[in-house]
């Protein structure tokens, strides 16, 4: 890995990143910063982590040759099946890693934010496995549209706090989780669900998700020409890209949620519309007014409904190493239906954004495209089937 894409000592990727934290969080962030790398690189940690990823999460996840989808487009398309992870999304890679880390840091209480509920379910699962109390902050709007995941978290023994402020989605859930951490600085570890937040979170979550591209390298018989992933905060995408960042022959593509379209106010396409600013203690690209007030985003997908993005993605966008595009709610819905019918796989609405981008590409038989299928769509069935009747109207 070249140093080109590594965080500096103070956590900056180019001009993005850092830790814009209030003093109340300083001791926690310092502790993490000074200890996390030693811990996660220790033999002790690695042994346990790898065992759990293998026997509990079910890794490695398959790299599946989607022949009917390939025939439809005329390229060779593989799906990296993160949807087959225990709990149904890539989020568990990070959650297990951070729960093990929290134990080593001596923390006895776990908090997390969640949008789609996948990170909440993953965290609740890891906490159940280790017998740790778990509090999940979730926007009231997301509680409504991701019901199945709310029930799963309850089943797993997590306490769910409904967040009523702002747009009642992921941004506000993250604010509340940060406030909880400020109020419980000693015993609590905050498991951020994506490559966002203050340094060292973006770097730490990147390292925990990098297993995705490590496996792809081992599994792919031929080097891919393209790797495509959806981007909310950017954890599944950076996981899928990480070990290819230095290999310029592989075109890396991140797909944001355009919502109703990037020329409307109902969108979550941060790199398309955002400007440099601080959100959740990180300098990144932010959807904001000229006065620096954060704009409420919109996406049909709760996991992509976020007005910021991981600082490394902002940097990769500026340097041009990764191309970022966006697709609309409707395009994502169509792609979800298409994959269900062609391959018998119901994707998460988030992942469907990556799939939808296939429609915007040129295809030829010489191309090998890997799509990171970050999660499964069970949680989205209500929205997806609503969409079917919408489409026939």
């Amino acid at each position: 890995m070249s140093t080109l894409y590594q965080a500096s000592e103070s956590g900056f990727y180019g001009e993005y990143g850092g830790a814009f934290i209030p003093e109340m969080l300083y001791p926690n962030i310092e502790q993490l910063k000074s200890q996390y790398l030693n811990i996660i690189q220790s033999d002790d940690f690695q042994q346990e982590f790898i065992q759990l990823l293998k026997h509990y999460v079910g890794r490695p996840t398959p790299l599946y040759n989607a022949t009917r989808l390939s025939a439809e487009y005329g390229s060779t398309i593989f799906l990296k099946r993160e949807d087959l992870c225990h709990t149904g999304a890539h989020k568990i890679n990070n959650a297990i890693g951070q729960v093990l880390l929290a134990e080593k840091l001596g923390k006895t209480r776990i908090i997390a934010e969640t949008g789609a509920g996948q990170h909440g379910v993953a965290t609740a699962t890891a906490c159940a496995l280790r017998g740790l109390p778990c509090i999940i902050y979730m926007g009231a709007k997301d509680i409504d549209r991701q019901r199945p995941n709310v029930s799963r978290m309850q089943m797993l023994g997590a306490e769910i706090v409904s967040v009523e402020s702002g747009s009642k989605t992921l941004k506000d859930a993250t604010n509340e989780a940060i406030r909880d951490w400020i109020n419980n600085p000693v015993d609590t570890h905050y498991i951020i669900g994506s490559v966002v937040g203050p340094h060292p979170y973006p770097e730490m979550v990147t390292l925990l998700q990098a297993i995705i591209s490590k496996e792809i390298q081992e599994q792919a018989k031929k080097k891919p020409t393209h790797i495509i992933a959806c981007v909310g905060g950017g954890s599944n995408a950076i996981g899928a890209f990480y070990h290819y960042l230095d290999d310029e022959e592989v075109q890396l593509i991140g797909v944001e949620a355009a919502g109703h379209g990037i020329d409307t106010s109902m969108t979550a396409a941060t790199l398309a519309l955002g400007t440099p600013g601080v959100l959740h203690a990180s300098m990144t690209r932010v959807m904001q007014t000229i006065d620096g007030q954060v704009i409420e985003p919109h996406s049909i997908s709760a996991g992509l409904d976020y007005p910021g993005i991981g600082p490394l993605h902002a940097h990769l966008s500026d340097t041009g190493r990764v191309l970022y595009h966006s697709v609309t709610d409707q395009e994502a819905m169509k792609a979800a239906h298409q994959l269900s019918r062609l391959e018998g796989i119901i994707p998460a609405l988030e992942s469907a954004h990556a799939l939808a981008y296939l429609n915007n590409m040129d295809h030829n038989s010489g191309q090998t495209i890997i799509i990171n299928l970050s999660g499964r769509g069970d949680k989205d069935l209500a929205t997806l089937t609503n969409g079917i009747s919408d489409e026939t109207e």
């Binding site: 600085p185 203690a281 620096g292």
Partner: protein, 252 residues
């Protein structure tokens, strides 16, 4: 009066926090003179922000109402300059609003309208030292830092070294407006007091009554009241009268 003169003259310094644009867009024009007439020593004006992560429900609510009222950083500066009070003024806000205004442009406007200092809780000391000291110096603006019960002695000394005015001691490890008792902070305040810092100390968070205020004055130069005053304003029919009553009660 200059900010630091307050500390020489007075050992029971009262600093009141308000959110600009709250309860009405133009309320600053009424509240600033009322606070001055009531004998407040420092006025801290909050710049409303959409995502105030260090604040509890009361200040969150005042921020979102102020934003709905249409407050902007520009309007705040205009309102301050239209309302000349002699009481030292401090601006408190989140770094992103300052960044978007332009750090230098912001410091310059502060200087032009007579703001003495700023509290930016999410601008950490190292970033301030690495990037912004010359700009703050150029416009004679004090950067006021926070310490908490979890801040190490070494770090408190470092903050003391780089403070040109007071240090803001947060009385509990919490967001603002939590219903904790400020008296639980006795050991912590004792510890800070015994460090004999060169900067004056102002204690904030959880101060609601004159009793609380008296308590912190035993350990520090004075106290900062925010949420309790906003709650009084929330119920108020007459801002001027409410302000006088509130300050009188605290000073009694």
């Amino acid at each position: 009066m200059k900010l630091n003169e307050v500390f020489g003259a007075n050992q029971r310094v009262l600093n009141i926090y308000i959110s600009a644009g709250y309860p009405k867009l133009e309320s600053l024009g009424t509240i600033l003179p009322a606070l001055e007439a009531s004998g407040v020593d420092i006025i801290e004006i909050g710049i409303p922000y959409s995502d105030p992560i260090a604040d509890g429900p009361t200040i969150q609510r005042s921020n979102s109402i102020a934003l709905e009222n249409g407050i902007t950083v520009d309007t705040i500066f205009d309102q301050i300059s239209a309302c000349p009070v002699k009481t030292p003024l401090i601006l408190m806000g989140y770094f992103n609003t300052v960044l978007q205004f332009g750090v230098e442009a912001f410091c310059k406007r502060c200087h032009d309208v007579g703001v003495s200092g700023v509290i930016l809780p999410d601008l950490p000391l190292d970033l301030y030292l690495n990037r912004y000291v010359p700009i703050f110096k150029k416009y004679a603006l004090h950067n006021i830092c926070l310490i908490t019960p979890e801040t190490s002695e070494e770090r408190i000394r470092q903050i003391d070294l780089h403070s040109s005015s007071f240090i803001y001691a947060v009385s509990s490890s919490s967001t603002t407006g939590k219903n904790k008792s400020v008296k639980d902070a006795a050991d912590y305040l004792q510890r800070i007091q015994s460090m004999q810092l060169s900067s004056p100390l102002m204690v904030g968070f959880n101060i609601k009554t004159s009793d609380d205020f008296d308590f912190v004055c035993d350990y520090a130069a004075g106290g900062i009241i925010g949420s309790a005053f906003l709650l009084a304003l929330e119920k108020s029919k007459d801002i001027k009268e409410t302000t006088h009553q509130f300050i009188k009660a605290i000073r009694s």
